[in-house]
Amino acid sequence: MGAKPMTTDHARPAVTATAMRKAYGEHVVLDGIDLDIPAGSVFALLGPNGAGKTTVVQILSTLIRADGGVLRVAGHDVVRESDAVRAAIGVTGQFSAVDGFLTGEENLLLMADLHHLPRRERKRCAADLLERFDLVDAAHKPAATYSGGMRRRLDLAMTLVGRPRVIFLDEPTTGLDPRSRRTMWEVIRGLVADEGVTIFLTTQYLEEADRLADRIAVLHRGKLVAQGTPEQLKRQVGGGHITLRFTDPRGHDRAARTLDVMARDDDALTVQIPGQGDVRSLRALLDRLDHASLDVDELRVHTPDLDDVFFALTGNPVAEQEPTR
């Protein structure tokens, strides 16, 4: 891989944006977005379909132009110094960006050539990446014959040729099975830990942002409606809740009156009560249930996740976010 100097550029911002705007005709997609992402961190942009995640990535990766705003990536202005930005970034777009006619290895060698790697290094770079992304067996097959997951892995491998300092990943795990998803997460964590790379990723999976990101921003109707660490966002929502299911309507009804319930569902015979999943409060709850001789069929602890964050911030379930066009 490329021999770019490994400057420790932590603390310096890797991506900043001030008042980023983009409209397609009447349709305002981004309505003043501010970002400040420190180098060496993982940033997750969260939003449902059509929120504008891809648009943000395309603008920051010089693919399309914003209508307004001051944008800097890796210390360079995205518009005026787009070539310097391009030299510092790697992009794995939402849709596969591999050459289907070429084999996996040829795809990687193509990238090595375009990064002007020295002849001997390019072979080694390709071999390393094939190994790392578990593509050795498929190295000599055309990428068009790859499964979705293999394609995605090749896609990311190609992005890493040339050792970019800032990597954009647009929905890197959409369409991957749970195992591949975990592999992808490990690769992403490794990049940050071992090479100090900055990762800008978008996702619709709240769990993914929660697990990977140092900071998360939620995109809704063209604006960032929340920004912070996963913990901060969860705090905004308050605690989690506990769901109790009862065997008979009478018990259910009695519980609903005795306990401090947030919500009840008469068909499913459940009640939700506020509370955390810690042992002490669970024991207290169980004691109360025993005391009242309530016969509980099932108990589920729901720790707050980013779904709750989304609900709390926008007042809508995620599925209803897509703008009507």
Partner: protein, 263 residues
């Protein structure tokens, strides 16, 4: 390395990529050579007897017609190949890989240069194949060594021009089907020129068009070089047309490509 050397190495990288595509999926290459060969056989064996006598060489008939029609067929190869180029450019632009190229610090136009140089080599190969078949069915060129060099030079210019034009049209068309359709008229142009019959046998309106469209000087110059017929001003006209089409096609392609991708 300077920007210019980068532009060169990147274009060569893209050219190698094109060659790989061609080797792996030779369909477009074979079509580019196959269609003109079919036309050649059709015109020589089905229509050649009559057309040859109409053209009225010393012996008339099929043998005269082979020599008359081959330059037109060779240039038709340039047109079918241009259609192939348009299709492969359109396929490429619809692939994510080009979006990736756009986010990389490479010479921007190198993707297109790769296509053009790839098509150039591929079309020259197709033309060699077509000429081979022509020789088998009785084509007897009179060109000497220098004239053959002239033939190659002219063909390179024509291919270069038509390829840049087809690249621009392909970017404009965006979809693969539209790109293919847009280039179809190009295939008909050799027939609506002096490729298959002399233009003075055509009705006035068509004849006017035939005399002024670029394929006629291309064909007349090629015929002159191959068969020793008079070239006159056609040589200059052919080179002029090539320069205009190539320059225009290049600038237009570059402008269209630098435009924002529409998703």
């Amino acid at each position: 390395m300077s920007t210019a050397t980068h532009a060169f190495t990147d274009s060569m990288t893209m050219l190698r990529r094109q060659w790989r595509h061609m080797l792996r999926y030779p369909t477009l290459v074979l079509t580019a050579a196959g269609v003109p060969v079919i036309f050649l056989l059709l015109f020589v064996y089905v229509l050649g007897g009559i057309l040859g006598s109409g053209i009225g060489g010393p012996s008339g008939g099929r043998d005269t017609y082979v020599d008359y029609v081959v330059p037109g067929i060779i240039l038709m190869t340039a047109a079918t190949a241009a259609q192939g180029t348009a299709i492969s450019v359109a396929i490429d632009l619809n692939e994510g890989i080009v979006a990736r190229f756009r986010t990389m610090a490479i010479a921007r136009v190198s993707v297109l240069t790769g296509h053009v140089l790839g098509s150039l080599t591929q079309t020259l190969l197709s033309m060699t194949a077509v000429t081979g078949v022509a020789l088998l069915v009785g084509f007897e060129p009179t060109a000497d060594f220098v004239e053959w060099l002239g033939v190659i030079g002219l063909l390179v210019l024509v291919i270069f021009a038509l390829t840049w034009l087809s690249v621009a049209l392909a970017i404009l068309a965006r979809s693969i089907a539209a790109a293919s359709n847009m280039l179809t008229p190009l295939m008909v142009l050799p027939m609506m020129g002096s490729g298959f019959v002399p233009t003075d046998s055509m009705p006035a309106g068509l004849r006017w068009f035939a005399d002024y469209q670029p394929f006629t000087p291309f064909i007349e110059t090629l015929r002159g070089l191959l068969m020793g017929t008079p070239i006159g001003t056609n040589g200059t006209l052919a080179i002029g047309w090539c320069a205009v089409i190539a320059g225009g096609g290049y600038l237009w392609s570059r402008k269209l490509y630098n435009r924002e991708p529409a998703k």
